[in-house]
Symmetry: C2
Subunit: 445 residues, 2 copies
């Protein structure tokens, strides 16, 4: 009997836990689910005979050690900052580990010791990162195997509200951490276009979007991610001359968001004066020059170079930026004020469904033809707990966990899912859950 | 006989040293001038019978202690980061100290102990900070004494190249640290306008300038400083509803500099790829989208929304931003690359003179009249070593040093020159050196 320790029983663990519980009987697994909220863990285990809920505090070193020592596999769905603590104990006790989070420098530092001990620390097996790596590598390796030459790779992902539920002027709601959405792009972007490195500062980022077309779902905007070249060597694409990664939004989102960036409303570097008594309108007014004659609306429109009666201006008005509502919280940065305002307006409502969209574009040469593969994934959430986000994050982590427990993965050290032995079985099985890429292969010239 | 220890014999110490040497005989002072370059110190002392040059290394704690212990006054003209080391020893040995630099948090932390020991640490007695404090406080206190009510205070300073020597399209040359000029404004700006706090993000800063008129010198642009409210309480202006501090440039400078900010060429947060082999043209091209048809010039003009044949574009071309010159230095940030390019073009040439411009505007109410005082200072450098910068930094520090040695200043602890007993004699004596404000007092309504 193998013992799985799952840490973290939050929303994004739902599909992961269910998958592992469903396979527990036939595979003879025992699953311990630890969370700082015992009730949450009990709720997720739902009296399953192979499962057990426990109160778990990652800051209690004795408990951490005791639990990991007894486990055959640890899946950490804790906030990313806790992974290192868990990983260190996993390496010490020779226990394999799975996370859906980015490899941090701390985690990377465990690589040598993990290899020496034969321990696998498998990270980035969620959706982005996760499914993006696996689906991209599948096509990249297929093109290589058939003798085609990849010349450009562009990859974009977005977490959005599903069609029919995108019923506000922004066609956007928070389906994940609001703070990350407000600060997105603050460090600018870097990518490679026809062998030229391109750099975009933050204040230009949301005006440098591109338009993509997703069959059946229409047009979307894509703005560049911070570092498109992060995985260039990991993917084995050192020779590639165009590489771009982006984030997907609904049309006209970027132009509107850019207005907030231009104002300085997304700045997180300083605290404003007396946000406790400041109104939303005063917040907005603080970014434009003093002028006793014109309304705040008029000043904002003139400053941003948009018409006072325009769809863009309507988006700002709809957020409540010109309302006399009091913020009521002291010492906030502009970004925190904006988040506070947005959280009320962009909240998912009961019954709303979310959506994950991913698109890869592969330009390649074969038999003197320039061709292009569009590979697209759309996953719609089932309801407000069985979200597309939870499904696409949790299922890859769950399947990889099963493969590791069945000794089907022959890797050690700090890894991400770019090897065939990982992505082939995972992508194959994900289809059973409706997570399946559609491909179009078109002749360019 | 009193002993003065001057630390740092660089360009900005010239007037300071000469002033103190000139007063040494009659005042019976002995002056020790320490510098890491003994030759430089000897050159400045120029065999004066009351002066002595020495090799001085601030990183040698024994020497630091020995020199300070023997002194009656220490004047530190070292780079600002060294002041704390010096100040700590001054407090320990009960020696007064003068600097022309901003009060750092470290220096501030010495206030209590300095007061207990009766030691005066007088800072910010240069030009900006320094003359700005003194000249502003003189008018502020005069208005208060005569029963006028100050309603707005705006203060701006610029270090520029003098008229007739501003012979390039930017009408600007480096008269002080190039790196500070390239990074100026990066943290945005904050000020108070009619009781409204105003915030400007970096990418809007250089489009939010105002125009001022300096009699005999014409128009200038003023862009807002980082924090206009820093001295609000120090100046005793807590009730003031408009307070603004700015930096002065020649007309059309800000619009042109803004282009470089918009491109991202002043970004200092990341290193670019292979700047060693990158040309200036490639540097410029890295900020605009890939496009095989258009020239870099055409792309830049379109991206920045300016005409390809425009005065603004000519300024960029004149800098060499479209040249095929190789940068030749590895691992530079965009800001470092830009500085490298600018240092060649904006260098002061032999024979060039510099200029310091300062303007205060005081709006005040008196007998139901709204009036306004414009108080302006213009200092032109004598030559390339007797610069306006060295003069306006060094003389206030020198005069304050004399006042302290003559026991004419009744202060202890960490101070800046905002008290009448300091600014009155200093401003009075500065007139003898041609450093004199001109006032216009006009009726507004």
């Amino acid at each position: 009997m193998k013992r799985i320790l799952i840490l973290g029983a939050g929303l994004s663990s739902k599909f992961l836990i269910n998958y592992l519980l469903e396979h527990a009987e036939s595979s003879k697994w025992h699953i311990r689910l630890g969370d700082i909220s015992l009730d949450l863990a009990k709720d997720k285990i739902n009296n399953h005979p192979r499962g057990e809920a426990l109160f778990f505090n990652v800051d209690n070193p004795e408990q951490l050690m005791a639990e990991i020592r007894e486990a055959n596999l640890v899946v950490s769905m804790l906030p990313a900052k806790f992974h290192f603590k868990v990983a260190k104990e996993c390496v010490r006790f020779g226990v394999n580990m799975v996370t859906a989070s980015y490899v941090s420098d701390e985690i990377k530092s465990l690589d040598k010791e993990a290899r020496e001990k034969g321990v696998l620390l498998m990270n980035e097996v969620g959706v982005d990162p996760g499914i993006d790596h696996m689906s991209a590598m599948q096509v990249i390796n297929r093109l290589k195997d058939e003798g085609s030459k990849l010349i450009a790779f562009e990859s974009s992902t977005g977490g959005l509200v599903a069609p029919n539920y995108d019923n506000n002027p922004w066609r956007y709601k928070f389906t994940w951490a609001p703070r990350n959405v407000v600060l997105a792009g603050a460090a600018g972007a870097r990518f490679l276009h026809n062998s030229k490195f391109k750099y975009i500062p933050y204040h230009k980022l949301f005006s440098r979007y591109e338009i993509i077309d997703i069959p059946e779902y229409g047009q979307f905007e894509v703005y560049p991610n911070r570092d498109s070249l992060k995985y260039q060597s990991t993917y084995g694409l050192e020779e590639l001359s165009t590489m771009f990664r982006g984030t997907i939004r609904r049309p006209s989102f970027c132009d509107a968001w850019n207005l907030l960036v231009q104002l300085g409303a997304t700045d997180d570097t300083y605290s404003m004066d007396d946000t406790e008594h400041m109104t939303y309108r005063q917040f907005t007014n603080s970014f434009v020059a003093y002028n006793i004659v014109d309304s705040v609306e008029k000043k904002i429109a003139a400053y941003l170079g948009i018409a006072e009666n325009s769809a863009l201006m309507d988006k700002l008005k709809w957020l409540g930026l010109f309302d006399e509502t009091v913020i009521g919280i002291p010492d906030l940065t502009p970004a925190r004020v904006l988040q506070h305002i947005l959280e009320k307006k962009w909240a998912m409502e009961p019954g709303d469904k979310d959506m994950i969209i991913m698109e890869h574009q592969f330009d390649y040469l074969r038999f003197r033809q320039h061709r292009k593969i569009y590979s697209t994934l759309v996953v719609i959430g089932e309801d407000s707990t069985k979200t597309a986000m939870a499904k696409t994050v949790g299922l890859p982590a769950a399947i990889v966990s099963r493969l590791i427990l069945e000794n089907k993965i022959d890797l050690t050290g700090v890894q991400i899912p770019v090897e065939k032995q990982v992505y082939e079985p995972v992508l194959h099985e994900l289809k059973e859950y409706g997570i399946e890429f559609k491909e179009r292969d078109v002749l360019i010239s």
